[in-house]
Every structure is written in C-alpha cells, then in structure tokens.
Symmetry: C2
Subunit: 339 residues, 2 copies
C-alpha cells in the first residue's frame, strides 16, 4: 500500500522524439537502471536512441520484459493519439504500460478496456497509490540520506542516484528512493511526493523509508527547496518524514535566481544548510550536513576542480560534482557514512 | 475557480447528537455567522440545540434559506443512513446540502440522483475545488494576518475569527478566510488547505487571499504547526502563500506535548515566533509578530489575567485570550494594525 510498484524489466518507448532533452527518462533508465532495460522502441520520425537493442513488444516479452515505459516527455504532458496503437500492442503482448505524463493512461477508454481484456496494468507514475498514512514522527531503524537544494531542478535526483551507487560500490546496503516520476521509474518503485495530498506528505516520506537494518542506507531523492515560494511545503514534509541522518545540499554554480520565480534570489549555501538542519532536527536531532553537490556543468574540468576546492575550503565541507566523480566525490561519499 | 462557495443562508442540521462537543460546527456557525443561520433541524433523540428556531427544510426555504448544513461531527466521519431521508427532503425543498465529513455526499448514489433531479448542489467542504494554481510568489496588494501555532487544535481558527470581528468593529475592512472545514462553513467560502495536493498548497493560500484594497485585511485561519512532524509542510505552504504582514502565535497554556505525537515537546513561544518569522520573510520581508493568543480556558479570570501579564512582560509583546477579550485583547488587536 502507498508505494507505486513498477514492472521490473522494461521496453523503453521513445515516441517520435527528435530532441534528446525530451527523452531524459529514457536516458535516466539506461544510465541508472540498465538491468531493468530490455530494449527500446520508437515510431517513424524518431531521431533519438538510447543505444539499447530495438525490439517489438512481443520480442521484448520473449526476452523477459514485463513492462513498456513511456520514456519521453511530451509538450503539455498529453498522451499522443499516434501512440495508442503501439500501447495497445504492448498490452496485447503481455506488458504493463507505465507513464509519467500528466494525462492519465487510465482515463483513456480504449487503453483501459484493452488493459482489462489482457489482464495488464496501466500505471500512472504521477498518481500516488492509495493507503498513505499521516506521519507518526516515530524514529525508525536504519540510516537515511536526503538530497536538498537551494532551488528546484539542479541535480537532487542525480546526486542521490550517484551516492546510492557509490555506497553500493563500497559494499554497503543502500537503496535509492524515488520521489518524482523519473526517480520512481529508475527505482522501479516510489511515491510521487508532490502529488500527495498535503496532510500526508510527511507520512509518504515515512512510508517510503521504512524500518531497515541498522547499517542500511535509504538515499532519498529530494524535491523542491525550502526557499522556493511555490514548493517549500513539499520540501519540509519530505524532510520531516524522511528524518535524515545526513543531508547533502545540491546547488548549481552560477544560478542566482530561482526557477519560475526570478524575483527570488537563490539562498546562500550556508543559509541552506542552516535552515535544513534546523528543521530536520525536529524529527531527527542527529541530522548533519555531509557536504555539497555542486553542478559545474558550465565549467571546464580544471575550472571545476578549482571551484570545488574553493567552495570546500570556504565551507569546510566536502564539495563535489557527482557528474565528474573523482577524489572530491569520494570525500563527499566518505563524509556521508562517517560516524 | 479554486475556492469553495457555500450557500449564504442555511438551516443547520444536528442529527441525533447528544454530546455538545460533537456539534462544534453548529455552534461555530451560530456564534460567528448568525446572519447566515436561518434555523436548526434535528432528529428524534437529539438533545443538543443551538437555540435557533426549529424549522423544516420547507419552512427554512420560505424564510430565504438556500442551504442545509450538516453541523455535527460523526464518529468515523461517516454519513449516517438515518440522515438520508431528511437530506433528500432538504434537496427536494430547494436547499443545497453541505457536509464537512470524510465520506462524501457525492459518493452516495441516492443523494447524487436526487440532487440532479432537483437541480441542487451537494457540497463536500473537505474536497478542494478544481483550478488551484502553483504559487507565483508575487507580492499582492492589501494586508494579511495569519494565525500560527505551537501545535494543532489550540485556537487558531477562533483567534482569527475574533481578530477579524474586532477589526470590523473598528470600522476596518477585514475578511476572515477559512482554511478548514468549520472555518469554511463559517466564512461561507474558502479552501480546505490540508486536502489540497502538496504542490498547490502555497498556490491555494495565494488564491484565498487575492489582491485587495491597500487598507483591507485578510485574516487567515492557520493550520497545523511548523513544529508538528505530521503537518509542518501544510503550515509552511500556508505561511509562504499567505505572505502575512502580521502573524499572531497561538498557544494553549499548560500544553507540554503535541497532539497525537506525545513524544514531541511543544516548542517555546520564542522559538515559534522566530521560526515562523524566518520562514515568512522569504515571501514577505516585512512580516512581524503582533503578539500571542493564549488559550487560558483552564484558569479562573484572575489567574488568567495574571498569566497574560506575566507572559506579556516576559515576551515584550501583547498577550491575550480572545475568549476573554478585555483590554489585553484590545492591545493585541491594536498591535496587529499598528504600522
């Protein structure tokens, strides 16, 4: 109850996309959940490829696929009528269909009828599952890390994925916990936290990161920012419910004003750490900041290296760009798990 | 769009209630919106009365009523089958039916069919209306006051109602803005803020308190507490979206631990003021705390007077119990509107 569960092995659908930035979910799946990707399928006109083998739904089914994931965004989040035939074919071939679009698969009469006929599921990742409780505030066993941000859309999901993978590479039990549509598709499960009714957001975060073995890490994808006038409430509910032992603050170098509300300045890293810890300590008095994930995509490697060092000595914390990895990222990961 | 609009003159339904504490909505309507109350109606076995004239739905309609409000809570929030005949009679008499219960009127087939047949509305006050936008963070004209709390359920609605009435008594344009089911029924409009999808909570607060004349006050019913591990996200979204010029902090004397989560201590008044202002100033840098509303229901009048004075000199702020009124409350109201 409460968490969305997705099919475990999938064929990724690229539609007719020609702009790679519209296929972020497909690339995210390929890069972060390759064991769950069986192949790709696209329609005539599509110029983007993940490099995965091209398979029909029936071929994918024969290779063990149980799902067909719509891996592209669409202007307006609308289900394209040109996609319906292949979605019907996928259902007929025995695949569940997964979508992260605003318009719901289950609202489409023809798809609903076909899903029922073939005994398959239509899974809308933006729609929370039923059964999410009000948060209890009770301390849970196991360890939790939450990525938080100075703003939206600057690398909280990517940072959580990279840290979870680094922990696993060190032999530590770690689970990435998806809270947005792409994160959930990559994880194969999760709760779309910003689509939950407000009273249940902290409860959703508790449900997403249940009691676990003492040495296990849940690495949770953050949402929004405590400083964003549109979404701060979501961020606070997620922070309180996650009860993180560790936060990692994500920031994009050079961003000065918030997404969608340019009259709001980006807060300082110091202020972001301070406010997140102050609020986090209400539900976990031991919460601490392990370091900063800095998005340095705009810089050359040597520039980036200098900037990371500058920030690190100024803040006296590990500062790394997970996209670049290297010793700086190793130090950040080490700081996350240090006692 | 977005705000629920209720019928303006109502017959209040008391069911078969025998415990006055289960009829809080009925008493709230009588006390705070008497101009909207035409009469009451109850079923055999009911021992509670608001003192309003007893009328049938048809009699109420003849006296100008357009609504029939369920003014009692029910264990489990379930619509009692014994109520259906009178609800059908109310619809037939030309009244819209209003409910704040968990179970929805619109889910009841017989009521839905009757409403359609008679051209009347079934209004579930816990269900947000469609069309609530994401918050813009834009500064709006007019003035806003928000009641906030150290905890849930300690007088935020009552305080907002009392302040709105006191402002109106001084000849100032002021509107009480309901954010919970009873508050909305009293106001005759509003948004059930904790039932809104998380991404839209701040947007709902913006919608609820739109641009107004420079001297107009929106007095907004607060929800939850920034310190409550279950509901803090709701409180922050409401705080950010309201952009209050003034907050009034509500507290119940002697309460030491939070409702439903007794392992969480009630924060100090100082900490509550400080955290609310720090967060409020993100969307309104001029936010200030005008004073404290202290629920002293457990004390004698002279004890209460001493406690209010003690708190006031310690905090250097007006401290009043709106239930008791008097000079202390006058000072609090004056501090709210002081420039």
């Amino acid at each position: 109850m409460g968490s969305i569960e997705l099919p475990q092995r999938c064929l990724i659908f690229l539609g007719e996309v020609t702009d790679p930035s519209m296929a972020k979910t497909a690339f995210g799946l390929r890069d972060w959940a390759p064991q769950r990707c069986v192949g790709e399928y696209s329609l005539p006109g599509c110029t983007v490829s993940t490099g995965l083998p091209r398979l029909t739904p029936t071929q994918a089914r024969e290779r063990g696929a149980d799902g067909f994931i719509i891996g592209v965004a669409n202007f307006g989040g609308i289900l394209a009528e040109s996609w319906i035939p292949i979605l019907l074919e996928a259902l007929g071939a025995g695949l569940d269909v997964v979508s992260g679009m605003h318009s719901r698969l289950t609202d489409h009469a023809q798809l609903s009828a076909a899903a029922q006929r073939y005994g398959r599921k239509l899974i809308d990742v933006r729609k929370p599952a039923a059964g999410i409780p009000v948060a209890s505030g009770r301390k849970r066993t196991g360890k939790r890390l939450l990525t938080v941000g100075t703003d939206c859309a600057l690398g909280k999901k990517y940072t959580a994925l990279a840290i979870a993978r680094a922990l696993q590479a060190r032999g530590l039990p770690a689970t990435f916990r998806g809270t947005g549509q792409t994160g959930i598709m990559i994880a194969g499960a999760g709760i779309p936290i910003d689509a939950v009714v407000a009273d249940f957001v902290a409860g959703a975060a508790e449900l997403l990161t249940p009691d676990a073995a003492p040495e296990h890490w849940d690495v949770v994808e953050g949402q929004g920012s405590l400083f964003h006038p549109s979404y701060a409430g979501v961020s606070l509910g997620l922070l309180h419910g996650t009860q993180p032992d560790v936060i990692v603050v994500c920031h994009e170098l050079g961003r000065t004003h918030l997404v969608d509300v340019p009259e709001y300045p980006v807060p300082s890293l110091f202020e972001t750490i301070d406010l997140n810890l102050r609020l986090a300590r209400r539900t976990n008095p031991q919460a601490r900041c392990a370091g900063i994930s800095l998005n340095t995509a705009a810089l050359s490697p040597s520039e980036a290296s200098n900037v990371l060092e500058e920030h690190s000595s100024r803040l006296r914390l590990p500062v790394a760009d997970p996209m670049r990895g290297g010793p700086a990222f190793e130090r950040l990961v080490q700081a996350c798990i240090a006692q």
